[in-house]
């Protein structure tokens, strides 16, 4: 029997969602101040309007649903999934007011793409977008990468025990430190230290490359936020091609790989335990999958013969592959070139890389390396069982921060999420084909959206069907939250309708 949710459930969900919405309204003040600094009055007003509306909704919710009770698991999950939807709707207000998005839905697509660190964009005339709006696009990637709720819990909420439930709801099933708030703050510390260093490096390089100092450092900060959070937005319409710089490409590859690394590994590096990187199953799996998928891409590109020299093929192929594998979505070629110049085999290699993703407890999307490692180890264990005598005890170990004996529940969890991702990739492909796009193009774009990558083969444009925009929004949302909180929300609505 399904139980109908009680009033207290709704109050808890409303209250904590309200607090997160208040947090979102506060973050809008950052681009507003930047707008004022650059004498962009109308953009500053856009953000003031957005902040006021969010604050109004947040305050009303916290007052009407005021409670001192803590969240249970179901409520925590629902708060996360609802907060992400609320964040998408509210963060889209200033973007829509700018006039650079064709509709409010397009602006919502952009903000979900930003929060989910995907990087697919529907912005029009991006090259004339204000500093304030551009900063907002990248800032929401930075916030979404760490986790909207993690941000709210770190800065706008003072120690409450429900934080862990919401932390898990945002697809962070590992804690770096025993306390969730401390973990969140560590994640922020890592991100901000890298932000400062990378902005300095990218900014200096930008000046050396001939950019104006203000632009160089602004671009440096934006590019870091989108690369480290494996997002993929850029301030200019040409993406990374705008910079025409090998050094820029090399640095962004390093940042993308850092972003795809588990925050636990960052912690180990920071605390001097560098051996963990080489022993960890995620790092090893990532190295193997990069090599294998790159091999497929190289064979594919070689077949087609688009690139005249091996070095050029390596540069173009490797950059798009790392960008796809880490779930970033930076590109040094035009979307159309994937279809016209890459050939089917190279595209398949890239799609596999996008589908696999980066590390768990990182900002990357996709199936993730730990799950892939667990599935590979299980396969190995089963093969051993077949080969060895029946009475032999076959145990399988893996190293992830410590030595772990593989158990059925870990395998089941890994397989469940993997199957969910594959289904999500498939559904998006089906919708794309339904709207008349070729199969491979649809698979490419669907995988890119669901694995929060952001590479596009040209389907994602302001003119694409509304149904496809909605499908990709749902894919980005479900893919980023890794299903559990989305499933809980669906279950909650079913309980509201069918419960007794």
């Amino acid at each position: 029997m399904i139980l109908k949710p009680q009033l207290q459930d709704l109050k808890n969900i409303g209250y904590y969602s309200g607090r997160i919405i208040v947090g979102i309204s506060m973050t809008m003040l950052v681009p507003m101040v930047v707008g004022l600094l650059f004498a962009e009055i109308n953009p500053a007003l856009d953000f003031l309007i957005g902040a006021e509306i969010a604050l109004f909704i947040g305050l009303i919710l916290t007052k009407l649903c005021f409670t001192k009770k803590d969240l249970n698991w179901m409520q925590g999950m629902i708060v996360v999934s609802l907060s992400w939807l609320a964040a998408m709707l509210l963060a889209a207000i200033p973007l829509y007011l700018s006039g650079h998005w064709g509709s409010y839905l397009d602006a919502c697509f952009e903000t979900m793409s930003g929060f989910a660190t995907t990087g697919l964009t529907l912005a029009q005339d991006l090259d004339h977008l204000s500093y304030a709006h551009n900063l907002w696009r990248h800032l929401i990637m930075f916030i979404g990468g760490q986790g909207i709720v993690v941000v709210a819990a770190s800065f706008f909420m003072k120690g409450f025990s429900g934080a862990f439930k919401m932390y898990v709801g945002e697809a962070r099933d590992e804690r770096v430190l025993p306390n969730v708030i401390h973990t969140s703050r560590f994640i922020w510390l890592v991100s901000i230290v890298y932000l400062i260093l990378s902005t300095l490096v990218l900014g200096t390089l930008g000046i050396a490359n001939g950019m104006k100092p203000v632009n160089a450092f602004f671009h440096g900060a934006c590019i870091f936020m989108a690369a480290f959070d494996t997002g993929g937005f850029t301030p200019q319409s040409q993406n990374i091609l705008y910079y025409h710089s090998l050094a820029f490409e090399v640095i962004t590859i390093v940042i993308m790989l850092l972003g795809a690394m588990n925050f636990n590994l960052h912690y180990r590096i920071w605390t001097g335990d560098r051996r963990e990187i080489w022993k960890n199953i995620e790092t090893r799996t990532l190295c193997i999958t990069i090599l294998l998928t790159f091999l497929i891409v190289v064979i594919g590109l070689n077949q087609v013969g688009s690139y005249p020299r091996a070095l050029i093929m390596f540069r173009k192929g490797f950059y798009q592959l790392i960008s796809g594998h880490t779930g970033t979505g930076y590109a040094t070629i035009y979307a159309r070139q994937f279809i016209d110049e890459w050939g089917n085999l190279a595209l398949v290699g890239l799609i596999i890389a996008m589908a696999l993703g980066g590390g768990t407890c990182s900002t990357a999307g996709g199936i993730k390396m730990l799950r892939l490692g667990i599935i590979a180890k299980t396969l190995k264990q089963d093969l051993k069982r077949i080969i060895l005598p029946e009475r032999a005890i076959v145990e399988q170990r893996l190293h992830h921060l410590k030595e772990i004996f593989l158990e059925d529940k870990q395998v089941r969890a890994a397989l469940l999420i993997t199957v969910s991702y594959l289904a999500l990739y498939g559904i998006g492909t089906l919708v794309g084909v339904f709207y008349g796009y070729p199969f491979l193009n649809s698979l490419f774009e669907s995988t890119s959206a669901a694995a929060n990558v952001g590479l596009s083969c040209g389907i994602t444009t302001p003119g694409m069907p509304v149904g496809l925009k909605l499908t990709y929004i749902v894919q980005m949302w479900a893919g980023r939250l890794e299903f559990m909180s989305v499933f809980t929300l669906i279950g909650f609505f079913m309980a509201v309708i069918k419960g007794k």
């Binding site: 007052k63 950019m211 091609l241 050029i312």
Partner: protein, 163 residues
């Protein structure tokens, strides 16, 4: 008369040579270039668009990204020619409108496989300008209305708290 005839013949033969030597004298859009890159690869093209972002000087040359309203393409241009560009497009400026005559490269060997145009000539069709921003009064009024509403909500919240 003979001079005029010979000049005509030379001009005609030049025209035939130019047409025969892979030149697309007609203006070509970025979408056309990107979608049919193989066909235009290594050929002379005329491309018109607005200079956007930064003019990035690299030695004796410079990168200028030129947007024709559909896409932006990188143009590799002599530093002196690039020096004529006064405005580049951004939020507060409309960039110079340029007509680029140059060789289109699908995967430029010199520039790591980038799709670009190596400019042979640049002509400024219309100069850019600073775009003055006018205060949107409807947005300003909306901000004030929301501010009043927020103040009322604060009062409501305070009163409930004190009760």
């Amino acid at each position: 008369m003979r001079r005029a005839i010979s000049l005509f013949i030379v001009s005609l033969s030049n025209l035939i040579f130019i047409c025969g030597a892979d030149c697309f004298a007609q203006q070509i859009s970025s979408t056309e270039l990107i979608n049919n890159a193989k066909g235009y690869d290594g050929k002379s093209v005329v491309y018109v668009g607005e200079a956007v972002g930064d003019v990035m000087v690299r030695g004796d040359f410079a990168w200028v990204n030129v947007n024709d309203g559909e896409n932006a393409i990188g143009v590799w241009v002599n530093k002196e020619l690039a020096g004529e560009i006064r405005f580049t497009g951004s939020y507060q400026t409309k960039g110079d409108q340029l007509e680029i005559t140059g060789v289109f490269q699908r995967n430029c060997i010199q520039h790591g496989g980038d799709m670009d145009i190596h400019a042979q000539g640049i002509r400024k069709i219309s100069p850019g300008r600073v775009v003055g921003e006018e205060l949107d009064t409807s947005k300003r009024n909306f901000v004030f209305i929301l501010l009043v509403v927020l103040c009322l909500v604060f009062v409501f919240v305070r009163r409930r708290k004190s009760k």
